[in-house]
Each structure stands twice: as C-alpha cells, then as structure tokens.
Symmetry: D2
Subunit: 166 residues, 4 copies
Amino acid sequence: MPIKIIVTGGTFDKEYNELNGKLYFNKTHVSEMLKLGRSRVEFKIVTLMLRDSLHITDSDVKTILDECLSSEEDKIVITHGTDKMVNTAKVLGQFITHKTIVLTGAIIPYAFGSSDGMFNLGSALAFVQTLPYGVYIAMNGRYFHYNNVSKNRQNGNFEEITIKND
Amino acid sequence: MPIKIIVTGGTFDKEYNELNGKLYFNKTHVSEMLKLGRSRVEFKIVTLMLRDSLHITDSDVKTILDECLSSEEDKIVITHGTDKMVNTAKVLGQFITHKTIVLTGAIIPYAFGSSDGMFNLGSALAFVQTLPYGVYIAMNGRYFHYNNVSKNRQNGNFEEITIKND
Amino acid sequence: MPIKIIVTGGTFDKEYNELNGKLYFNKTHVSEMLKLGRSRVEFKIVTLMLRDSLHITDSDVKTILDECLSSEEDKIVITHGTDKMVNTAKVLGQFITHKTIVLTGAIIPYAFGSSDGMFNLGSALAFVQTLPYGVYIAMNGRYFHYNNVSKNRQNGNFEEITIKND
Amino acid sequence: MPIKIIVTGGTFDKEYNELNGKLYFNKTHVSEMLKLGRSRVEFKIVTLMLRDSLHITDSDVKTILDECLSSEEDKIVITHGTDKMVNTAKVLGQFITHKTIVLTGAIIPYAFGSSDGMFNLGSALAFVQTLPYGVYIAMNGRYFHYNNVSKNRQNGNFEEITIKND
C-alpha cells in the first residue's frame, strides 16, 4: 500500500513574490522534491490546504484529523508549518492509534535553495516506513513522540521536553 | 551514543574542476550537508577514503569492514559510490550481525545543486536510528537488505532482486 | 582606476530569517557574487546602507549623491532597490555630469538562488566600462538614461517612457 | 533589430549524465538563462553546434564565420568553450569589420548552479550593445580585443597579452 502524503503548507512550500517582495503560497513542491530525491517510494499526495501554520485554525486541524482517520493507508506523512506542528501532532496523537503518522516541515523554503526540506522529507519518509503505530514529528534528522516534543523558539530546533526534578 | 558516519567517497562528494572540466574529489561535504539539513543528531565522521566506487578495491572493502568491526558505535551510516555499493554491503553483511549499518550515496554530486544527496542522507540517518541490527542500503527513499538488492544500470535505481519461478 | 561599487541594499542583498520567516538585511553579497562570477575587474566596494528602497529617505539619497560627488573614481555602479531606483537616478542625474554612474538591482534575492542578480551585476559592470558620462539604470539586460525610464509595476520590468502624441 | 545569439556549446551548456557520471551536451540553456535574468533584450538564438571547444574543428570555425557574415543583425553574441575561444575570435576578427561580435563562455556549467555563466551572459549582452564594430571576448567581467587576449591556463582567467620590453 502506498504512503499517503498530506500537504498542509508550511515554510516547505512558500515562494517569493517578485512583484511585492512578500512570501506566499502558490502550489506544493512535494512531488517535485520527491522526483529530485529520486524517490521510488509508492505514494499518494493529498493537498488539504496551503497555510502558514500560524494561521492554522481548530477547524483546519479537524480537517487534517478527519483525513487521517478516513485514510485507507496506515503510513502517513504530513507536511506542516513548524510553529504549530506540535499542536497538531498532539490532537492527532489523542485520536489515532492504529496508523504511523509522521509530521515534518522546513525552516527554509524549498524554493530558496539550500534547504532543509529535502533532508527532512527524506527522513520523514524513512521514519514512516519503520516506526510502529503512533504520531511523531520528524525534524532535525530525529523523530519525537507527539507528547514529548517542543519547538525551541530561540534556535528553531525541535527538542524533547525534559523534566527537571529537584 | 553518537551515530558513526563513515565516508568513502562516491558521487556524493565529487566536485567540478574548473581548470580541466573533470570531476574529482577534494573533501567530503557530509558535515556541510548535515548543517544545511539542520541535523541535531549526534554524530562522528570518519573519512576513510574518497573513491569513485568503480575504483574501490578488495583492500578498500577490507578497510571499511575493519572500521565497522572495531567501531564502538552500533549505528553506522556509510557514504559510498553507487556502482559497487551492493558489493560492499554484501561483504559487510557476512561479518556484521550486531550493528545497524546503512549504506547510502547519490546519483548527482551535492556540489552541483538540486541533488538527491540531501534526501538520501536524511533517509539513511532515519533508517539507521530505527532498523534492527543488519546491513542495509538506503536509496530512492527506501531501504533494502544487503542480500536482496541490485542497482538497475538502465535507470540508476536500486531494486529488490525478484526471483522468478517458472 | 578601479570601478567603485556603492551598495545601498535592495532585494539584491535580502536574506531569509529562519526564525521568524521574514526577509531582512544582514550584509552585502556583492563581493561574493563578483567572486562567483570570476570577475577580474578592479573594484572598490563601499557599503553606504542596507535599505529596502521603499524605506530610502531624501537624506539617504543625499548621502548617495555626496558619495558619488566626492568619489575619485569616475566609473560607479550603485546597487539599489528597484522600487525607488528611478527616483534616486533622477536626483543623481541632475548633479553628476562628469562620471559614468550605473544603478542596478534585482527582483529576486541573490541568497534565494536562481537570481537575476548575477545577470544584472554582469551587465552593470559592462555598461559602466563602456557608456559615456551620465547616469543610467541597468536592468533586464538593457540600459536606460535616468530621464527616460520607469518601472512597470505590473510586471516588474524597466521600460523607456514612451510619449504618446495625439 | 534584435541581437543574434549564436550557440556553439562550451562549458556553459554542459550537463551531468546521472547514469555514467560523465559530462555531456543535451541542449542549450541560453534561453532559460535569459528568462532567469529577466532579460528584455530582443534576441534571436541560433544553435549552430554543441561542442566542447577542444573538439571544435577548422570546419566548425568556418561555419561560425559564415553565420556571422551572412547575419542581418550587426550585434552578435557567441557562446563558446573557453579553451579555443581566442582562436575562433582571431579568425572572425580577420574577416568581420562591420559588426560587433562578442564571444563569451563559462568556467562552470550553468546546470551545476553557482555559475559564472549568468554573470558572463549579462556582461556579453551589455558589451555587444555598447562597443563599436569589432570582435571581442567578454570574460571575467571585462572585454578584450580579439588580437590582444589569451587564456591563462593556470587560473582559467582571460588576460591582455602584455608585451615586455627590455
């Protein structure tokens, strides 16, 4: 069975508008990236939305959840903005127990070259093929369980939540 | 414990000589690629050699095997030219049973941009973290057991060896 | 005598802030671009400011004018944001008659790859070496006299001002 | 009248063959480069041949000369391998006196990114618009008369032929 790739937007897919100098969404680059990566993994792409994750609403998260729940495929990669990735992962993690779901994203738009997007997409596809059922985030070459991860706002990296005991 | 990355060369690390228009090896780009990928995986790089895999000798394979055997780390990624990658994997697979070893490479030099290298490196690092002990090849977004893989010379892709029964 | 390159900012030198997803100025890329272009033209860079040209004030234009007037070199390239490039060129054109001054810029930041910046910089350096004294804009592979050029806001291109007679 | 661009090959247009790791010619990238450079110069491309200049024969040079002689356009840019560029320029210079002809090329293939090609193409197009009739080479941001230029084999740069008097 193919891997499902659910596109929701994020820095991954941002482009530069030459006329006004602003970043915007035009279309997803995931298929192009997989082609460039010479991927031979069987996959199926669904573009649910193209959103900066700062603008992802509760209703959007519900749409993502519904897509995961109704999906035939039990291996799902979700591309997502990094700012609210942990939040979406937590919602999915509460409902989904019989699928492997890996959320991933990028810090640099793919269209700007020299991106972390290719690296993250490669690792997300690998993790989804090998990790047991559960909801994970794949960033910085690592994977994190949905309930033990946060984004460090200072450096942009994802980290385990460390509990300090006194 | 960190992941060990053993560099042996391959298209991954080829560069373009501006003066004579030929491809050559100068130094490995793996650290730079990991930085670009915003990798936060703990790792240790050993550059064993920089060879086109067409020029890898039996003695070179022995050197790679020795490095794997004597390695403290039990998770090892090896960057390697694609032409003889299967051959090296088979030798390692016969001797190494208590480590996870993932060989990877690229079809396009990293230095030429728009490479499959970032994608493959991302997937190799993910596979080495999640696969059980054994020797594998990570190419085209997939992983293959060392004893069930071949490179398709027509299209450059790696494939399972399919056994046809009559 | 070397060519003077006066850097004032513009899209040319914008970079992407990975932490907040916004564009900003860090440092000029002009030296790096000249190196990449294998330029062997003798030059001298002065970074006067790093501004989006939308934020260039009258006082900034005065600073640019003063730098041109006091310059020993009589061949000057100015990198400048495209939005107010015509405006600055007009001010310079009124005062400077015994130097060749070429303003240039880019529509795509150099740091985002696949840029028009390298192309424009190459043409600006060529025009400044060959055009007679005067103030010009070099964009889109062409040169324009300061008093006969406007930026087309619809497509981002520079054009002659055509006078329609009825 | 448009500028004629005569394509003869050279490093400019070399590509990387993923299957055998060799460089080869597929098609010219000049139109793509002009588009990327946002060129609005009127031009007409003729692809005469795609040759490494080491393989350019006397008969090839004759073909280039004939194309220049019979051309309606009096502004002509020729893309050419750098190794024999001076040789071809010298032949053209002996026959052509009523056109402006600028030969240019690259040290790094355009397809490998971070190229000098965009820079050189920008400068060649500028020089052809501004220089008087004659045959020139545009490399390294500079222009050279056909009879006063040589390629420095040590560093790949083009230089004037300096005559040392004792």
